[in-house]
Assembly symmetry: C2
Homo-oligomer: 339 residues x 2
C-alpha cells in the first residue's frame, strides 16, 4: 500500500470511475508478458505487478477522459507505457536502496539478485519504449524517452547529493521536477493529446500533471516524517536515515538555531547517528508540517489554476477531483503532525 491509497475512500470517487480502465490496463499488461523472451517471462511477470496505485495510468485515462464507457486502445497502451517505465525505475531503485520488500513481497533484486535486476529493469524500459513505437507517429516514443532520461537525471542528482547538506530549496525543486513531476506531466499531456484535445488544453493538462507531481512528491516526503506506518504500509523515516535532504529537513534546518543546525548537519552527513524522535519533535514545535503542507497546497493550487480556463472540458472535473484527493490526504496527516 502506498501513501495515496492510505485513505481508499478518499479515492473512491475518481478511482471507482476508473475501475474498468485500470482493469483493462491490467489485462493489457499481463498480455505483454508474451512479448518477452521465454527465458525471462516469469521474471517480467513478477515485475509487472498490478498491485500498485497506478497513479500515472490514472493521469493518462483522466487526461484523455471522454466519459466512463470510453476506453480506447491508444489510452490503454499509453497507460501501459508510462506504468512500465515507472515499474522499471522501481526495480532499479530497489537495487540501489537495497530494499527487501515492496508492496508486501520481495523486491526483484532480492528475488533474482541485483545483477539480474539491473538487466530486468533495462528490459522493462526497452519494452516500454517498444510499446511506445506502436503509435502511428514517433511522438509518444519521443516524449516518453525524453521524460525517462529526465527522470534518471533527477535521480542521479538526488543520489549524488545524498549525505550532503549543500542542498538548496532550488536544488530540491529541480530534483522533484525531474524525478517525479516529469512522468506525471507527460502522462497527463499525452493522455489529452491522444484523445484529440486542442493544443492549448494539451499544454494545460501537462502543466496540471507537473504541478500535481511536485505536490505529490512533497506530500510523500512529508509522509516519511509524519505518516503512520500502519496506515501508510511502508517503513518511514528512511529519507532522514539515508541522508536524503527533503523539504521537511530543509525547512527544519532553516528554523533551527546555529548550534542545533550543526548537530542536525552531522546527522544528515552521517557523522552522528540520526536522532529521529528529537528532530520530529522539533519539526512539530517549529511549524515545519504547516510550512511544508503549505508548499503542497501551493502546488495543488497551481495545478488547479492551469485548468481554470477549461471548466467545460471533459477531463477537467476529474483531474480537479484527483487534486482534491491530495488536498484531503494532507489534512489526514495533520492530527499526528500537530499533536
Amino acid at each position: 500500500m502506498t501513501p495515496l491509497e492510505a485513505k481508499p475512500h478518499a479515492f473512491a470517487g475518481v478511482f471507482s470511475l476508473l475501475a474498468p480502465h485500470l482493469a483493462e490496463l491490467d489485462r493489457f499488461l499481463h498480455g505483454q508478458i508474451a512479448a518477452f523472451e521465454p527465458e525471462i517471462r516469469a521474471m517480467a511477470d513478477y515485475c509487472i505487478d498490478t498491485s500498485g496505485k497506478r497513479i500515472r495510468p490514472a493521469l493518462v485515462f483522466l487526461g484523455g477522459w471522454r466519459g466512463p464507457t470510453v476506453i480506447t486502445p491508444e489510452l490503454v497502451r499509453l497507460a501501459a507505457v508510462v506504468e512500465l517505465v515507472h515499474l522499471a525505475t522501481l526495480v532499479h531503485d530497489d537495487i540501489m536502496d537495497e530494499a527487501d520488500v515492496r508492496r508486501g513481497r520481495r523486491t526483484a533484486a532480492r528475488e533474482y539478485g541485483p545483477t539480474a535486476a539491473v538487466l530486468l529493469g533495462d528490459a522493462l524500459f526497452a519494452h516500454a519504449l517498444h510499446l511506445a513505437t506502436q503509435f502511428p507517429t514517433t511522438e509518444v516514443c519521443a516524449a516518453v524517452s525524453e521524460s525517462t532520461r529526465r527522470v534518471c537525471a533527477g535521480e542521479i542528482v538526488q543520489t549524488l547529493r545524498r549525505g550532503s547538506t549543500d542542498v538548496t530549496r532550488a536544488d530540491y525543486q529541480r530534483i522533484v521536477d525531474l524525478k517525479t513531476a516529469e512522468l506525471f506531466r507527460v502522462s497527463c499531456l499525452l493522455g489529452a493529446r491522444l484523445a484529440g484535445s486542442e493544443p492549448d488544453y494539451v499544454a494545460a493538462a501537462g502543466d496540471f500533471g507537473r504541478h500535481l507531481g511536485i505536490a505529490y512528491q512533497i506530500y510523500d516526503d512529508l509522509v516519511d516524517f509524519f505518516g503512520e506506518e500502519t496506515r501508510i504500509g511502508k517503513t518511514l523515516g528512511t529519507d532522514f536515515a539515508s541522508g536524503k535532504l527533503t523539504l521537511p529537513l530543509l525547512a527544519l534546518l532553516e528554523r533551527l538555531p546555529a548550534g542545533e543546525r550543526a548537530a542536525l548537519t552531522g546527522e544528515i552527513t552521517g557523522k552522528c547517528p540520526p536522532q529521529a524522535a528529537l528532530r520530529l519533535g522539533q519539526m512539530r514545535e517549529l511549524g515545519v508540517f504547516t510550512a511544508v503542507a503549505g508548499a503542497v497546497q501551493t502546488e495543488v493550487a497551481l495545478a488547479t489554476t492551469a485548468l481554470r480556463p477549461w471548466p467545460d472540458h471533459a477531463p477537467t472535473p476529474l483531474l480537479l477531483g484527483l487534486a482534491d484527493v491530495l488536498h484531503a490526504q494532507i489534512d489526514g496527516l495533520r492530527p499526528r503532525a500537530c499533536a
Copy 2:
C-alpha cells in the same frame, strides 16, 4: 584496446575507408552531450567514450555503404543510436562485474558509484531511443528497442547460469544470439534499410550481421583463453574465474574423462579454485582451440553465404572484408593456442 583491434593492420583496409564516417560519428556523439540535463552532462560525456572499436557503427556504415564520400545524416544518427545502446550496456555490465577499468580508465561505476552508474546507463538507453525517434517513422526505434530487450534477455540468461554446469551448446548459442548477435544484426539491417536497399538485401544484411555477431562472440570467448594480455589489452581468463561456461569450456568438458570432468565442474561451480593453467594445457592437448575456431569459421561462412546472391551490391565487398578480418584474427591466435 579490444580484441578486434589487436591487429590494427588487419583492419586497415575496411577501417581506413570508414575513418571519415567514424570521425563524423564522434562529432555527432559529442554534440549529444548538450541534450542531457546540465547536471549530468559531464557524466554522460565520460561515458560517451570514443576510444572503443565502434564495430556496431561500422556495421551501420558498411550495411548502408554507397561509396567512401557518402556520409548521410541518417546513417550517422543510426550509428550513434546503436553505439549509445552498446555503451549503456557496458556501463551496466561494469557495475555487475565490479570492473575497475575499461579502455584504460576507471569505469563509470568506479568513478561515480554503482547507484549513479545504474541511472546513468538508464539515461544513455533513454537518450539512444530518443535519438531513434528522430527518423520519419517509428521503424528504427521499434527495431532498436526490441533488440535492446533481447540483448538484456541474453545477459539475464547468462547471469542466471553463472556457476552452473547445466549449460548445453544450445543454451550457449541462444545466449550469444541474444546478447551479441542481435545488435550486430540490427545495425547491419537498419544500415541497409536506411540506404534504401531492396527488402531482400536488407534481410540478407541482417543475416550477415547476426552470423558475424555470433562468430565475433565465440572468437571473443576464445581470446579469453588463448589471447595474449599484452596484445589484447584486457585481463584474460575472467570467464573461467567467474563461472561463465563459454564454448571453449563446454568443448573441454565434452572431451575430458569422467573424473577430470567432475573436477572441472567443481571449479566452474566455485567449489574448488579454478586451475587455469591445467585447463589451458588440456584445451591444447585435446584440440579445443581447433574445434572452437572451427565454430567461428562456420559462422563467418554463414555470414558470407548470406551475401552470396548480391556480389554487385555496394556494401557486399566491404562486409565480406570485415568477415575476412575475423577469419585472420583467429589465425593470429593459433600459434599460442597450438604451442
